[in-house]
């Protein structure tokens, strides 16, 4: 028994001479919630499609539950693709039952579960309505139900939050947490770092078709240089005291003339060391604000400003 739901080894794919994915390797450990991050065009969707056998890679190998993707292993996977839609002329219940049956459920069981999930998602009244009569948010919920109705061991969600309003994004985060708590492996791609930061055990960061980071969220955050915003009364020796501990960026002074600066800490120095040094030197501090690092900062640190700019434009 393998400990991984998905193992990807050296995957590469080129479209029309342009490399989309280059030598990407990672694993999704069973029971973990893994985020697959990167700006649009980073190669996330192509990698996920290759992982499911939808696209054949130019090189590299994929294992689903320890073996090459096949019908049997695919039945244990629930996939929500980036490009998604449902049959507009079918009823919500019929759509869910159709996809559930494609995943191997009997007609009776598919219908029973469809009603349970529709109720759980607050869509009981919509069961007999055609998809074209539902709102976009409701239709997206139907798609999510269709992806997990067969209670798969491994759930892959490609950009699941895109197109959802904040309320439905929060609802989807809750669904993903519930699935992970139920012991299922979840891999989801997103270019919105906040979702990954709130949800994931591990992240795989992609940029320009290559993997740039693969590890735990705290490990990624550890890559971000720590920063502290400091303020002291005018005429204090704040800059002199803290300069050995990192790089100083002078900020605009307060109205009362207090000096402000942003200190980017050297490796091995933390905010408490700075506070201790200021107290010992008798610096009259007016501000002491350690900045909490975010995955976005980690992404900037790992990928560089250019990719961040791309991300900003595409978000």
């Amino acid at each position: 028994m393998t400990e991984y739901a998905l193992e990807v080894e050296g995957l590469s794919k080129t479209f029309g001479g342009k490399p989309a994915v280059q030598d990407v390797s990672f694993q999704a450990r069973k029971g973990e919630l893994t985020g697959f991050l990167g700006p649009n065009g980073a190669g996330k969707t192509t990698t996920l499609r290759m992982s499911l056998g939808v696209i054949v890679p130019d090189s590299g190998a994929v294992k689903l539950f320890g073996q090459a993707p096949n019908t049997k292993s695919m039945d244990r996977v629930g996939f929500l693709p980036e490009e998604r839609g449902v049959y507009r002329k079918m009823t919500a219940e019929a759509v869910i039952v159709f996809f559930a049956r494609l995943k191997g459920l009997s007609a009776g069981e598919a219908r029973r579960r469809a009603l349970v999930y529709l109720e759980r998602f607050g869509l009981k009244e919509a069961a007999t309505k055609k998809i074209k009569e539902l709102s976009k948010g409701m239709a997206q919920k139907i798609q999510i139900i269709s992806a997990i109705i067969h209670e798969p061991d491994f759930i892959i969600l490609d950009e699941p939050f895109s197109g959802l309003d904040p309320v439905n994004q929060a609802m989807l985060e809750q669904v993903i947490r519930e699935q992970a708590q139920a012991g299922r492996t979840v891999l989801f791609s997103t270019h919105v770092m906040e979702h990954a930061e709130r949800l994931c055990d591990r992240i795989v960061l992609m940029a320009r078709g290559r993997k740039v980071f693969d590890g735990r969220v705290d490990e990624a955050l550890a890559r971000v240089p720590r920063q502290v915003t400091l303020g002291a009364s005018a005429g204090s020796n704040l800059a002199e005291v803290v300069s050995p501990m990192g790089e100083i960026e002078t900020l605009a002074p307060d109205e009362d003339g207090s000096a402000n600066l942003l200190l980017t800490l050297k490796p091995g120095v933390d905010a408490q060391d700075v506070l201790r040094a200021c107290v010992q030197a008798g610096v009259p501090l007016t501000r002491f604000e350690p900045r909490r690092p975010h995955l976005h900062d980690a992404f900037v640190a790992l990928v560089g400003e250019d990719a961040v700019e791309t991300l900003r434009q595409e978000a």
Partner: protein
């Protein structure tokens, strides 16, 4: 195969479980009925047209026209009654009906009674279908200028229906070169029935006069005009020594094969279109990737093809059932109306032709269905599809054009070559079957068609995968074609 079955089932139900499908099925008999009764409706709604003949020659040609039209019409109705009665009850019934009809030796007043005597009480109106109702009346004036107000409707003539305008006036005059001249005066420039009738009557009269002036007796002239050779058609393929005349029953398989070829073509065209629109709907609705991650590509393709094939089987089954029912229940009525039609319907149920039709439909459907599916996978909208459909529609149209233009020569070289083109084989070979093509040719062309079907399916699957995942689209095909064009140049 479970996924293929589920996809086929969904596809099938998406068409069959709709009101539109059954309404369109119902529409066919409704429109057929409308088509059937339209001639009678047109006939009954057509106004009686009054016309006058002004004879300026003094030969009483106006009376000749009137008499000749009555005799001609009588002969036509008599012939039709004889044929219809024969269809219902053979020679005996025909004799009985004609005896009643001849009770009025100068007119057609006994038509309905004659038809009723053989159980065809409602068939009288069918004899009038398509005919122009024209009644000759005394001219209200004798010059063109004086007649114009009557022809334009400014003035009317008295008729049993009340005051009516004059439809047309004929002036028959002496002519220095031709002998006689007929001038037709009417505001209706399109109707040629009446003009043709009068022209034929005057021509026959002129010929007869010419022959009389040569010293021939009118009876001798009639006898001479009736001279015609006895033509007998024999089938050279029948056994030596057996000389049976070719009947309609012998020709029926040709008509049936042609009919089946057209039906095949229409069926393939319409169901392939269903696949195209269904595929575009899935592509545009972004459903296809979800399907691809749930089922194998082959299952999706097979499922879609089977689902829509099921729709066409339902169509055929419903109409086949209706056909059998009608033939069984209404066989005698059909025979009464048209014995040849019954012969034709009976020939349709030839198991050999039906099996061949099924085989050709399967191959044709798979080839064109796969092509249309692949095209659909490249397009997001029907507009995209239209640009790609052009060449395929031409490929699909050509065999029909070949069949239509070779309808009298189904053994011609063009048909023979056409039946070897795999994309055309299903239709052209179907039409060719009754000409008994050599077995080796039939088997070879069919084998080539089956191999092509497999290649098309393989190619369509490859295109489908690229198109479904948006790695290729209609623009890719256009670029490819442009590249091909440049290379050739």
């Amino acid at each position: 195969m479970r996924a293929a079955y589920l996809i086929a089932r969904r596809e099938y139900l998406s068409y069959v479980a709709t009101w539109g499908f059954w309404l369109s099925l119902l529409a066919v008999p409704i429109f057929a009925t409308i088509g059937g009764v339209t001639p009678a409706l047109i006939q009954s709604s057509q106004p009686v047209r009054y016309f006058s003949v002004i004879d300026e020659t003094g030969q009483r040609l106006d009376q000749l026209v009137e008499q000749a039209r009555i005799e001609e019409r009588r002969a036509q109705v008599r012939g039709a009654i004889e044929m219809m009665a024969q269809g219902v009850g053979g020679d005996e019934a025909a004799e009985r009906a004609l005896a009643i009809f001849d009770e009025d030796p100068d007119g057609v007043s006994q038509t309905e009674a004659a038809l009723q005597s053989v159980g065809l009480s409602d068939a009288a109106s069918a004899l009038e279908a398509g005919r122009t109702k024209a009644v000759q009346v005394e001219p209200p004036a004798r010059t063109a200028d004086a007649l114009r107000p009557y022809l334009s409707g400014d003035q009317t003539i008295e008729t049993p229906e009340g005051p009516k305008p004059l439809f047309a006036a004929f002036f028959i005059r002496e002519h220095a070169e031709n002998g006689l001249e007929v001038v037709y005066l009417s505001t209706n420039l399109t109707n040629s029935d009446l003009r043709g009738d009068v022209r034929d009557i005057i021509r026959a009269h002129m010929r007869e006069q010419a022959l009389v002036s040569e010293g021939l007796d009118p009876d001798e002239i009639d006898a001479i005009l009736d001279i015609r050779p006895l033509v007998t058609s024999l089938d050279a393929r029948s056994e030596a020594g057996v000389e049976e005349e070719v009947t309609f029953a012998d020709r029926a398989p040709f008509f049936v094969a042609l009919g089946l070829a057209f039906i095949l073509w229409m069926a393939v065209f319409s169901v392939a279109n269903m696949l195209l629109t269904s595929m575009i709907e899935e592509k545009g609705g972004k459903i296809i990737e979800l399907l691809l991650s749930t089922a194998r590509l082959e299952d999706i393709l097979i499922g879609k093809l089977l689902g829509v094939a099921g729709v066409s089987v339902t169509l055929f089954a419903v109409w086949g059932g209706v056909g059998v029912l009608l033939s069984t229940l209404g066989g005698s009525a059909i025979a009464a109306l048209d014995p040849d039609l019954l012969e034709l319907l009976t020939s349709v149920f030839d198991p050999g032709l039906l099996l061949a039709g099924l085989f050709f439909f399967t191959c044709g459907y798979l080839m064109y269905g796969a092509i249309f599916l692949a095209m659909g996978s490249l397009c997001d909208t029907l507009q995209d599809a239209q640009t790609l459909m052009g060449p395929v529609i031409w490929i699909l149209m050509l065999p029909m054009l070949i069949i239509v233009f070779s309808i009298d020569a189904l053994d011609s070289m063009v048909i023979q070559i056409g039946s070897w083109v795999p994309l055309w084989t299903p239709f052209v070979m179907m039409a060719r079957l009754p000409t008994d093509p050599p077995l080796w040719e039939l088997l070879s062309a069919c084998a080539l068609m089956v191999v092509t079907t497999l290649i098309v399916l393989w190619g369509a699957a490859a295109v489908f995968r690229q198109g479904a995942l948006r790695q290729a689209n209609a623009d890719s095909v256009r670029k490819l074609l442009k590249m091909g064009g440049k290379k050739k140049a």
